[in-house]
């Protein structure tokens, strides 16, 4: 029982972080019908920006509430800028070209970034893993069942940050003028343009939002796993992509549910079998969902016109 509860806690904590990354995939897919394979690498860049700023704060005497907020803010702002650059210079010129062209470009950017970061020229970090500074001192926040189940403080913070960002996104998408424009563009960007909506700007901001969420997720990952390396984006990005597909790509609540399910499944596999089974089961779960419900759990069945 205590094991089970601990696994649920750990699974939810991993799942909410996946959810932040999955939201970026699903939002960009929503407006562009493009799988942005560089998204995981944007997350990795955000983590490194967080790492660099954390080192600065560490030299200046430790971490307070303000410095942790500043780390999140800097990394999210940097990633929003990176997202804008990628959209503006890599995807926008291909807007009217076949979708496959943009998809291959996305894969190209992903490789360029993840392998580029393994160089050790100038500011690039080089291939060796780094340890993310302990920006939040790890302490049990709550212990249950005579100390057999621990809810850590960083897990609580990670929950709170992830849920806060998701709630903000939900509000933005469903309650604001930008969200309405985004949903309209997602539905039919040509019609939206004929109603006076600057569709390119809506798409650019969607990229920036998705990238900022990924940066937030990257720092939460780094707080959880400590180890960061240039290839982390590929693995975590792929997992988050799986989560978005399980939930039904293009669907905001679907991405969250898919990510939490994936987090729980992985944690149970690690807890009850062997950790080497984790990825096999995660992708097996994807195949199962796609076989039974190809549109994803929350996706809408669309009839292809022939």
């Amino acid at each position: 029982m205590s094991d089970f509860l601990q696994h649920v806690i750990n699974g939810l904590s991993a799942g909410t972080i996946y959810a932040l990354v999955a939201l970026g995939y699903t939002m960009v897919y929503g407006v562009l019908k493009l799988i942005n394979f560089a998204h995981g690498d944007v997350m990795m860049m955000g983590t490194y920006v967080g790492y660099a700023s954390a080192l600065q704060f560490k030299q200046r005497g430790g971490f307070g509430m303000a410095s942790v907020l500043a780390i999140f803010f800097l990394s999210m702002a940097a990633c929003a800028a990176v997202g804008w650059l990628i959209e503006r210079f890599a995807y926008r010129p291909l807007r009217e070209k076949p979708k496959l062209t943009a998809l291959i470009t996305a894969i190209g950017i992903s490789f360029a970034v993840s392998y580029g970061f393994q160089m050790d020229w100038g500011f690039l970090p080089g291939p060796n893993p780094r340890a993310f500074p302990e920006v939040i001192r790890r302490q049990p926040w709550l212990t249950l069942l005579d100390g057999e189940v621990t809810l850590w403080n960083w897990q609580v913070i990670s929950f709170a940050v992830a849920l806060g960002l998701m709630a903000g996104l939900q509000y933005l998408v469903f309650r604001t003028r930008f969200g309405r424009a985004m949903r309209a563009v997602s539905h039919d960007h040509r019609t939206a343009a004929l109603l006076g909506i600057h569709t390119d700007r809506v798409i650019a901001v969607t990229f920036m939002l998705g990238s900022a969420l990924a940066a937030g997720a990257g720092i939460l990952f780094a707080i959880k796993d400590v180890k960061i390396e240039p290839l982390m984006g590929t693995q975590q990005g792929l997992k988050a992509f799986v989560a978005a597909v399980i939930g039904g790509i293009g669907n905001v609540p679907g991405a969250v549910v898919g990510a939490v399910l994936l987090g729980l499944v992985e944690e149970f596999v690690v807890g009850y079998t062997a950790s080497s089974w984790r990825d096999a089961v995660a992708f097996g779960f994807l195949i199962l969902v796609l076989l039974l419900r190809p549109e994803g759990l929350f996706g809408r069945v669309t009839a292809e016109k022939v």
């Binding site: 309650r175 604001t176 949903r183 539905h187 343009a193």
Partner: protein
């Protein structure tokens, strides 16, 4: 709007478009003035929707020009043409199906917002050749607006309420007041057509282009819709251009009619003039029922 020249809201001058050697539209000229209701008719494939696409900036004319309120819009993108005062509906309904009727209209109500830099200022900068600056100010407007929404400033909330009120008023004009919170996809066909008009009106157009607004409606519904369209023109002081297959309806409400066939303008004038034109008779007899027979679909 006292001088007659400024009454011209939409003007096409010899606009032509060629697709791979095929002249889809040739030497298309048309003038829509404030308060006018014009008809654009022709057999299937005559180029009517192509003409709409050229007017709204979806296609760039190969030659000739289009002017909206006196300003040349060739080379502008559809959203820019729309902001100059031109709105349209679509032959195949193109609502945002998963949005509510209210949200469909609110999406279009961009002109209701109170930007950081006024639209007039942005447009005058654009006219005077300072395009990058105009674009930057326009972008600043959008980003400012979106941040305000996120930070929930009181001004934003008041504006949002005004926007909802405006959109509800438009729904009411189109007889959709009770449908505001239904998803567009769930509305009956005739109501979807009217919702498209409400959405187009949300952009505060000066000219409204309606692409077969009565398609798929029965005779009574069509007649009601045409009366409604006449009322919209009077109420909002619009110029309206309607594509319609049903000659009888067009003759009934439109002051002037342009007839297209194979991309060529084969006749233009009042209903009686057009009906008497042998070319029109020929074009229609070769395709569908004769002019005046009505009900061609």
């Amino acid at each position: 709007m006292s001088a007659p020249a400024s009454d011209v809201l939409l003007e096409a001058r010899s606009a032509s478009i060629v697709f791979g050697g095929l002249k889809a539209l040739s030497e298309f000229s048309l003038t829509v003035r404030k308060g006018e209701l014009l008809g654009l008719i022709g057999p299937n494939g005559a180029g009517k929707t192509t003409a709409f696409n050229v007017l709204t900036g979806v296609y760039q004319p190969t030659s000739g020009e289009v002017r909206v309120c006196g300003e040349r819009v060739n080379g502008m993108r559809p959203f820019q043409v729309n902001r100059r005062g031109l709105a349209r509906t679509f032959q195949n309904i193109r609502l945002f199906k998963s949005l509510t009727a209210l949200d469909n209209v609110k999406v279009a109500c961009l002109a209701e917002t109170h930007p950081l830099f006024s639209r007039a200022r942005v447009e005058s900068l654009q006219r005077s050749g300072l395009r990058p600056l105009a674009t930057a100010l326009d972008a600043a407007n959008d980003y400012y607006d979106w941040w305000r929404a996120l930070l929930l400033t009181p001004g934003f909330q008041a504006e949002e309420e005004a926007l909802t009120a405006k959109a509800l008023a438009l729904l009411e004009v189109m007889g959709l007041a009770g449908r505001a919170h239904e998803e567009a996809r769930n509305l009956p066909y005739g109501e979807q057509r009217r919702l498209e008009i409400a959405r187009a009106l949300g952009t505060r157009p000066k000219v409204l282009l309606l692409d077969e607004p009565a398609a798929g409606m029965n005779t009574r519904e069509k007649a009601e819709l045409m009366v409604l369209i006449g009322q919209l023109r009077d109420r909002f002081g619009l110029g309206i251009l309607v594509i319609e297959h049903d000659m009888k309806l067009v003759m009934g409400i439109c002051e002037r009619i342009t007839v297209l066939d194979h991309g060529e303008t084969i006749a233009a004038g009042t209903g009686a003039e057009v009906r008497a034109n042998p070319k029109v008779v020929e074009a229609y007899l070769g395709d569908a029922p004769a002019p005046g027979a009505g009900g061609a679909a």
